[in-house]
Subunit: 189 residues, 2 copies
């Protein structure tokens, strides 16, 4: 059964969600509580569902990710930018950020960490490689299931400019006709 | 001496160039020829000038990066999107992409790989860590010098949606007042 309101998103296209450079939220579950954080340091590791994520011990979610080997990456639309920023500026040690900022944990299909109901995309991830975690806080995650709700996409993801300012998306430039070498990437779902 | 037209950009702020999720160009020099490629898989590894980059053996630039341990990351504005896409769809094995697509190699300060004169930012990088290159084509690069030309920034970087379509930047949303925990990140240069 699909999580309420979401359609399954193909794992081989998950890079389309991450490559634009979105601000994301990361949900974890430590066995007792679900935590939620905000992140701007992420990228596709390969076409498909391998994702690189920087998440360090300064984040309350770090211990849960270490212990459980799983998390959910959720992508908020720019309509949520204020709440998402607030989530990134308070620690889950101190407060239940779901409740405080109006985010709803929703049951995932395979992860114990919850989806974020308000986000337009959710990717249930396991840790694929943690070799560079000690040195760089770099996790390589593998998307196991992905969910999409076109109705929540709105103006889509937004981009942190690294200083507390964020770029919204303007027009989309369609250059698929110039993708001669990489044409297979341009197919419709 | 600064490369012509560029001002030095602080290394401790280089994440501001990468965190938004730009399409970038990567310049290398193999001892004989400079090559240029296009890339969308990149992220900051830390605040400052550590950058993660996916670049695989299918790219002609891979051998030069392996051999020399250096490259230049250049960030084009959306005005260059067509040429940048074309650079990403032909191999440097076959053609001199600088000449063909109207990009100008400019001497860097410390790298032998050239800057891209037309781009609004250039980051001279060395390889900081290649432990995950064999398994994931993942390079950790360290910015050694960075250069910025505000006059070429225009509408700024653009974002690959993974399918040959690209997002332009619309308005910037200023939420610096909400960055209570991370206030140090919001300072002006």
């Amino acid at each position: 059964m699909s999580p309420t309101g979401f359609s399954e998103y193909p794992l081989d296209l998950v890079h389309r969600l991450i490559e634009p450079g979105p601000v994301i939220m990361v949900s974890t579950f430590d066995g007792e509580r679900a935590n939620l954080m905000t992140n701007g340091f992420n990228m596709p590791i390969a076409h498909g569902a391998l994702i690189g994520l920087i998440l360090g011990p300064w984040d309350h979610s770090y211990d849960a990710l270490r212990a459980t080997g799983e998390c959910v990456i959720a992508i908020p639309s720019i309509d949520l930018a204020e709440q998402v920023t607030d989530v990134g500026n308070i620690s889950g040690r101190d407060v239940d950020k779901w409740d405080k900022f109006g985010f709803t944990p929703a049951p995932a299909a395979v992860a114990r960490a919850p989806l974020v109901q308000e986000c337009f995309a959710n990717i249930e991830c396991t840790v694929a490689d943690d070799r560079l975690v000690d040195d760089y806080n770099l996790w390589i995650l593998r998307g196991e299931r992905a969910w999409f709700d076109a109705g929540k996409r709105g103006a889509g993801e937004f981009h942190h400019r690294g200083d507390g300012t964020f770029s919204a998306n303007a027009d989309t430039l369609d250059l698929r006709h110039r993708m001669t070498k990489w044409q297979y990437l341009t197919r419709d779902q």
